[in-house]
């Protein structure tokens, strides 16, 4: 009996020791957090956090689906400036051939990336932080938000000049993961863009580290572009004139055009570039960059069209941005605007807006409001700077407008503007002479009312959001 009791005592003692061991683990043993991250409500609580978040916003512009590759490519491949060689890596073929459907990966990714940038901007704009520089920082975020909405409404919706009451894109200005918004009208989207740019222009300063950051005149230049797309010629004129007179920007000389494009680093001398999205040796898209897509040592799928090449005179400095070579057995005009694929120290930046474009906007605005003298003045500033032996445009009226469009095509080639110009002019896309020996099959004319002139609302957006309607035809 006693032995049993002793045994029981022993057992009880041992069980209690073990129970103590059980509870010896600390409570926070199960509370583990990621090592390289910050909880979302602690991310933007002071100026340093806002600066980091703003850097993150700029970095998103560099996404392959935005200015990293897709936006510039759409603008030229879907128009008459560039084509996809038959020897290709199977990229952007649907866009080039206008065969895309609602599940199209590239445009769906552009939509998602753009709204991701808008989320980053919204969190900065809506943060309660006020400090010495918070107005500047918020102004930069607003400008980029406006830029994103500008791209969304032009690629996914009808033009303002064609129908301002058409369905645009959802306007989202705060973070709500469960929100399922419907499409706002095109005019409403533009209203937000205008408000953002105006607010940004008034709160920002003109100084910046370099051309890879947004300044006061970035917002002003964008206001000029937006006004042009709205058909607001007076507004375009006012904004563009402000940049021309007060921005302090200059054009590169003819001798320096090629060098300007060779430079991979952002500039602070206000030469040409008003705003660009920068890539460097460490942060770049590698084989998914815009330059790799043109570079014959990279994928080299996108080639400049013969028609565009032939439109430059022999003395035009911009002809030096092409290399004549061969691909798939044909003679082709290789695009050399982004030559830094091999440069170890730095990589090509994507230009968002340049001084030359502002001058051309001003020229067009003058022409549209009846002042051909000033129109020719600013147009020829660009044309004669690029081609010193060119006498200058002497046309007027409708013919001058056509010349302005030709000059825009020549100047802004491979920067994503050509297709958008054809959109706002509401004309057919006609590929007159892509390449003499082009062997593949591709449509020659895409009429202005073809439903594929705007991208479909992504199928995965529609699957997740029943409130959003699809563009007709898809």
């Amino acid at each position: 009996m006693n032995i049993k009791k002793a045994k029981m005592k022993k057992i009880v003692l041992i069980i209690s020791i073990i129970t103590l061991l059980f509870t010896s683990c600390k409570k926070d043993f199960l509370d583990l957090s990621p090592y390289d991250q910050v909880p979302q409500d602690e991310a933007i609580v002071d100026e340093a956090g806002m600066v980091a978040a703003l850097n993150g916003l700029y970095a998103q512009l560099r996404s392959v689906n935005l200015y990293g590759r897709s936006l510039p490519l759409y603008g030229d491949l879907m128009a008459d400036n560039a084509f996809i060689s038959t020897q290709n890596s199977n990229r952007y073929i649907a866009e080039f051939n206008f065969t895309f459907i609602s599940t199209n990966p590239n445009s769906s990714a552009t939509w998602a990336s753009a709204y991701n940038a808008i989320l980053r901007a919204n969190n900065i704009i809506n943060s309660p932080v006020t400090s010495a520089n918070s107005n500047q920082l918020k102004g930069e975020a607003m400008t980029i938000r406006a830029l994103m909405y500008f791209n969304l409404v032009n690629w996914f919706a009808k033009q303002y000049t064609v129908d301002p009451n058409a369905e645009g894109v959802p306007v989202v200005t705060t973070y709500d993961a469960l929100l399922k918004p419907s499409r706002a009208k095109v005019s409403e989207v533009y209203a937000l863009i205008d408000a953002d740019l105006a607010s940004a222009f008034s709160t920002m300063t003109n100084t910046s580290k370099n051309s890879s950051y947004v300044t006061k005149f970035t917002a002003r230049a964008l206001q000029a572009r937006v006004a042009l797309f709205k058909g607001d010629w007076a507004g375009a004129k006012t904004a563009a004139l402000d940049v021309v007179n007060n921005g302090g920007y200059t054009l590169a000389t003819a001798a320096n055009v090629v060098n300007y494009w060779k430079g991979a680093a952002p500039v602070s001398n206000k030469l040409e570039t008003i705003f660009e999205v920068t890539s460097d040796a460490v942060n770049n898209n590698g084989s998914n960059s815009l330059s790799y897509f043109f570079d014959q040592a990279g994928y080299g799928d996108a080639i400049g069209s013969d028609d565009l090449y032939n439109s430059y005179t022999a003395t035009d400095a911009r002809k030096g941005l092409f290399i004549t070579g061969t691909r798939a057995g044909q003679t082709v005009r290789i695009v050399n605007k982004y030559p830094n694929t091999n440069t170890a120290a730095d990589k090509d930046d994507t230009k968002v807006i340049r001084y030359a474009e502002v001058l051309l906007i001003l020229a067009e605005a003058y022409n549209r409001t009846g002042d051909d003298v000033n129109a020719r003045l600013y147009l020829n500033q660009v044309a004669k700077q690029r081609d010193p032996s060119f006498a200058g445009y002497a046309s007027g009226g409708e013919l001058l407008l056509a010349d302005i469009m030709i000059e825009r095509r020549k100047e802004l080639a491979f920067e994503g503007m050509r297709y958008l110009d054809l959109q706002r002019l509401n004309v057919d896309v006609t590929r007159v002479n892509i390449n003499n020996n082009y062997v593949g099959v591709t449509p020659v004319s895409i009429p202005k009312d073809n439903f594929r002139r705007i991208f479909p609302i992504p199928q995965d957006e529609r699957d997740a959001n029943p409130n959003i309607s699809q563009n007709s035809g898809y």
Binding site: F22, N90, D463
Partner: protein, 996 residues
């Protein structure tokens, strides 16, 4: 006195002399006291002996040398009995592997087979030894009903995919939990630079004693939130008291590609240019353009390379193992070393492992036992890229033109970018570039056991599972992926360390005076933490020479470290009641908490109940002679799947969006504090029967496995800035049968024939999704009521005989066809998961020879030719070579074929994704054929050896794919997609095993 003394000494001498030679008699029976005739009785020391008669009796002469008798009978476990001074020795033999008293490894301990209520399959270490595979999970293929084991790649040391009873999750892991010597380990592929690796390849299969696969609730739920996909228990070899046993195994083999279909042969020069010319004519180009294009493709040179031949080679396998085990009643040990070296049939792909194990157990006092188990290995692996990487030798083999000459006229490798302007020369890549990994793995545990008294035992075990993978990738600066940046150098280091501490208290007692009521009760506590540390570096601009072993890049572009970890804390308890070994009732409960679960749902409770009825213990069955074993069992319970990301539920900002070399932050994921594990509820009913003295064994199981709270990426409107949030929203079900039948049609003294067949039939169905809306994950669709891997694609309708244009059905009613792909609707054509799979194996045993064969089979699944749209593309990517299948194209009006007209540059999007690219995945493969010869014991004894065995083995010798059109090996990853992986190898090897 003297006389008596003399007589005494005489008698003693006589007795002594008599004792030198005496007769020993006895009887050999089975466990049911039935006599075994023709069993061998041998004197171990001399090798002489005799056999038993029809009544199981024997009588042999022994002399002074005789100390041990060895009793053996083919198919039965042999026994060695020390003679001592006896003249009579009776022995009862047990059937090998079929005894119900056999002890099975179960969760947290061992159990007698009779008392098991769960569905457990056991694979003995003998079946895993000396096979030409780098990891144990490859060897499980076909051996366990319900366990699907498939190789997604022929890379030695590569990952193997295991699914037990179907796929049980959408986003969380679907692989089982691996527990080695009681320690749950990290498994899977931890490589970050190489395209595949396998954490289990660091465990030498020759060190494995046995593997138990736990398939249902009663067996597995004790592992709680991680048991949903089944649990695989692996126990390493331990020493046994007695004479030290030394063992040496050695095997060498050669191999080639296991499956080749002539339709997949790349075109040769004449075929390629003739086809390309036809394509250009069909595209309507001018003669000048045609000539220019053909010349650009190499028409004017004379090269006619067979790239498949250049890229494949003879595979080799070498496997050498040596082990010693032994000990005395207080201390036992097992130690081994091994070298495994395998080269795949594709260049640049190989694997080498050096391993060692040391297990020791010591009884310090009669209550306290302490043990250490350690196994360690060092792996060196080279693995080329796979998929459509331009450096993948398999892609290059099919896509490089015959006119792209591999060598220059002077015999050096040609890597010029004029010849190789898109894909690279794989021979040059294999020569100058490298992707390799070195992996050090250590698995160790320290365990102690304290036996308070007969019924109460305390066990504590502390284990560590450590992996350190160093990876290196070098891209040369002259050609290839990094030519434009002056070459690249990547150095990665990945360290994963996992510790587990478990403490168990076990109480066993037989109640009632008759001791008929048995109780086995365990309660315990377990804590686990796993930490991973990654160092990632990359730099561009390496020196312009390929002769530096580890060049330093001039511009580093990536340099960062990252950590991630997870932890688990659990309280567990199991109980089993048995009455007279007839009725068994079991139950288990475990409360798990983990760092992976959201703040609102950190802990969960997982339980099981099981029962078994051993009918063979009932009197009414005992009277039926031919039934040896008859058991019914059933179980039900709840367990979970915690294989989700470590921080999936937290909403955070991440610092990976840098701009102008300044740190930038960005929103990372949406917060979900309710996120929790997926719940699995398996019901299992099973029957085991052994009849006719073991001549027929049958196991059958029926199961329904319901999985709920599936973690799905709940799609969000992209306008929120996010694509989706992880939430527990869906449910799925797997239902099926497992059968295993073993028959011994012939069993005589000299000859035995043994045949086993197993089959698993599984049906998977998604039972609910968010709003029951389809989730498109092309080419799959997740739709309520359909298989998880249902394939949703366009329906191919062949080719229009009038013009060679591709035709698709407009929708799945298959009433109309069209050549305009944009109007085509998709339909479900089948699933990538097999309807049934298993194996049949047979063994012939004649005296000292055995012939074993194992055939594995699988049917009912579809496999996807992911890159067919390039290899027989009808003209898209015409600068890439095509395979012979393309030659079946339409050429003139009236041709009836299902391969469209070949147009240079492609036309009508004929290579769009559709059912055209799917094949039936049904196949049978002769996985293993082994002929072995064991030296008779008498002969072996003269060489002072216990056991000498020679064998010749063929692995993957013969493959029959039932779809004659399939252009690649029918064994493909679980998702059925062929991704131009390293080709699977067929090996013929010879080996010898020596036992001392």
């Amino acid at each position: 006195m003297k006389k008596i003394g003399l007589l005494f000494s005489f008698l003693t001498l006589a007795l002594f002399v008599l004792a030198q030679n005496r007769t020993i008699t006895g009887k050999v029976t089975d466990e049911n006291r039935r006599p075994i005739a023709n069993a061998t009785v041998m004197i171990k020391e001399t090798g002489t002996g005799g056999t038993t008669d029809m009544d199981g009796n024997f009588s042999i002469q022994v002399d002074s040398r005789a100390k041990t008798l060895v009793f053996s009978y083919v198919g039965w476990a042999s026994q060695e009995i020390a003679i001592g001074n006896r003249t009579s020795v009776d022995v009862s033999l047990k059937q090998e592997g079929r005894s119900m008293d056999e002890v099975v490894i179960v969760a947290y301990g061992t159990q007698v087979k009779k008392k098991v209520t769960g569905s457990i399959s056991r694979v003995s270490g003998k079946e895993l030894e000396n096979k030409p595979f780098s990891s144990v999970d490859q060897m499980l293929q076909g051996k366990v009903p319900g366990l699907l084991s498939t190789s997604p790649t022929g890379q030695p040391g590569g990952i193997q995919q295991i699914r037990i009873r179907g796929i049980g999750s959408v986003t969380a892991g679907a692989a089982p939990l691996y527990v080695i010597d009681g320690i749950p380990v990290n498994s899977g592929d931890f490589s970050r630079l190489n395209n595949t690796s396998n954490a289990l390849a660091g465990l030498n299969p020759n060190d494995i004693e046995s593997v138990s696969v736990l398939k249902d609730a009663a067996s597995a739920s004790i592992y709680g939130s991680r048991a949903a996909n089944g649990v695989i228990l692996i126990n390493t070899k331990q020493g046994r008291a007695g004479k030290s046993k030394i063992r040496i195994d050695s095997e060498f083999g050669f191999g080639n590609t296991a499956y080749i279909n002539d339709a997949a042969r790349p075109l040769n020069r004449e075929e390629y240019f003739a086809l390309t010319r036809e394509g250009l004519v069909n595209a309507g180009v001018s003669q000048a353009t045609m000539d220019a294009t053909l010349n650009n493709l190499g028409f004017s040179n004379t090269a006619n390379e067979d790239w498949v031949d250049l890229v494949t080679r003879q595979g080799t396998t070498q496997n050498i193992n040596a082990s010693i085990s032994g000990g005395d009643p207080k201390t036992t040990f097992y130690t081994s070393i091994g070298v495994f070296d395998q080269k795949a049939v594709v260049i640049g792909s190989d694997f080498k492992r050096y391993s060692g194990a040391f297990n020791i157990k010591h009884k310090a006092t009669d209550k306290f036992t302490i043990g250490i188990n350690t196994t360690g290995s060092y792996i060196k692996q080279n693995s080329p890229s796979q998929s459509s990487n331009f450096r993948n030798p398999v892609a290059d083999a099919y896509w490089l033109r015959p006119s792209q000459n591999a060598y220059n006229p002077d015999g050096t490798l040609n890597y010029s970018t004029t010849t190789f302007n898109q894909l690279y020369n794989p021979l040059a890549i294999a020569e100058y570039d490298r992707i390799l990994l070195n992996n050090v793995k250590v698995l160790a545990n320290l365990n102690g056991e304290y036996q308070f008294y007969k019924d109460l035992k305390f066990t504590t075990k502390f284990g560590v599972d450590f992996i350190n993978i160093e990876e290196e990738r070098y891209d040369n600066p002259f050609f290839g992926d990094s030519r434009t940046v002056g070459g690249r150098m990547y150095n990665y280091d990945t360290r994963v360390a996992n510790w587990v501490w478990s403490n168990l208290l076990n109480y066993r007692h037989d109640f009632l005076s008759s001791k008929d009521l048995s109780l086995d009760f365990t309660v315990g506590y377990e804590a686990q933490k796993s930490k991973q540390y990654n160092i990632t570096t990359r730099g561009e601009g390496v020196p312009a020479t390929t002769s530096i072993p580890l060049p330093v890049p001039s511009s580093p572009s990536v340099a960062n470290g990252a950590r991630t970890d997870y932890s688990f804390v659990s309280a567990l308890s199991m109980m089993q009641w048995g009455y007279k070994n007839k009725y068994i009732l079991s139950g288990s409960v475990r409360r798990d908490g983990s760092s992976r679960f959201g703040a609102n749902n950190k802990y969960g409770t997982f339980w099981s109940v099981g029962g078994a009825w051993n009918l063979d213990q009932e009197n009414f069955i005992k009277n039926i002679d031919f039934i040896n074993v008859l058991k019914l069992r059933a179980s039900y319970g709840v367990n979970g799947n915690a294989e989700i990301g470590n921080y999936t539920w937290k909403g955070t900002y991440i610092f990976n969006a840098n701009y102008n070399q300044q740190p930038g932050s960005a929103p990372n994921q949406v917060e979900n504090p309710d996120l929790t594990w997926e719940i699995n509820k398996p019901l299992n009913i099973g029957i085991d029967a052994v009849v006719w003295d073991g001549r027929l064994t049958l196991n059958a199981d029926y199961y329904i496995r319901k999985t709920e709270n599936l973690i799905l990426n709940d799609p969000l409107s992209r306008t929120s800035g996010f694509n989706s949030v992880s939430a527990n929203v869906g449910s799925m079900e797997n239902k099926g049968w497992e059968f295993q039948v073993n028959v011994i049609p012939v069993r005589t003294k000299d000859f035995t024939w043994d045949f086993t067949f197993n089959i698993a039939l599984n049906k998977n169905k998604i039972t609910s999704l968010r709003n029951n809306a389809d989730i498109l994950a092309l080419p799959y669709i997740r739709r309520v009521g359909e298989d998880y891997q249902a394939i949703y694609t366009r329906l191919w309708a062949g080719v229009d005989p009038a013009n060679g244009n591709p035709l698709w059905y407009t929708d799945d009613t298959k009433t109309q066809t069209t050549s305009n792909v944009t109007t085509v609707q998709r339909g479900i054509i089948g699933s990538a998961s097999p309807k049934g799979f298993g194996s049949f194996s047979t063994a012939f045993n004649y005296k000292s020879f055995t012939l074993d064969a194992q055939f594995n089979y699988q049917y009912g699944n579809l496999v996807y030719d992911n890159w067919g749209f390039i290899s027989w593309s009808d003209g898209f990517n015409p600068q890439l070579n095509k395979i012979r299948k393309q030659l079946g194209r339409w050429q003139k009006a009236g041709d009836v074929t299902d391969i469209p007209k070949y147009v240079y540059g492609g036309a009508n999007v004929s290579n769009a994704e559709s059912s055209r690219w799917y094949y039936k995945g049904d196949f049978i493969r002769l996985r293993d054929l082994t002929l072995s010869y064991t030296l008779p014991r008498s002969v072996a004894s003269t060489m002072k050896m216990d056991n000498v065995r020679f064998y010749v083995r063929g692995t993957n010798l013969w493959t029959k794919a039932f779809d004659k059109d399939i252009t690649f090996d029918p064994e493909q990853p679980i998702n059925g997609t062929n991704d131009l992986q390293i080709l699977i190898q067929r090996t013929v090897s010879v080996g010898v095993t020596l036992g001392f």
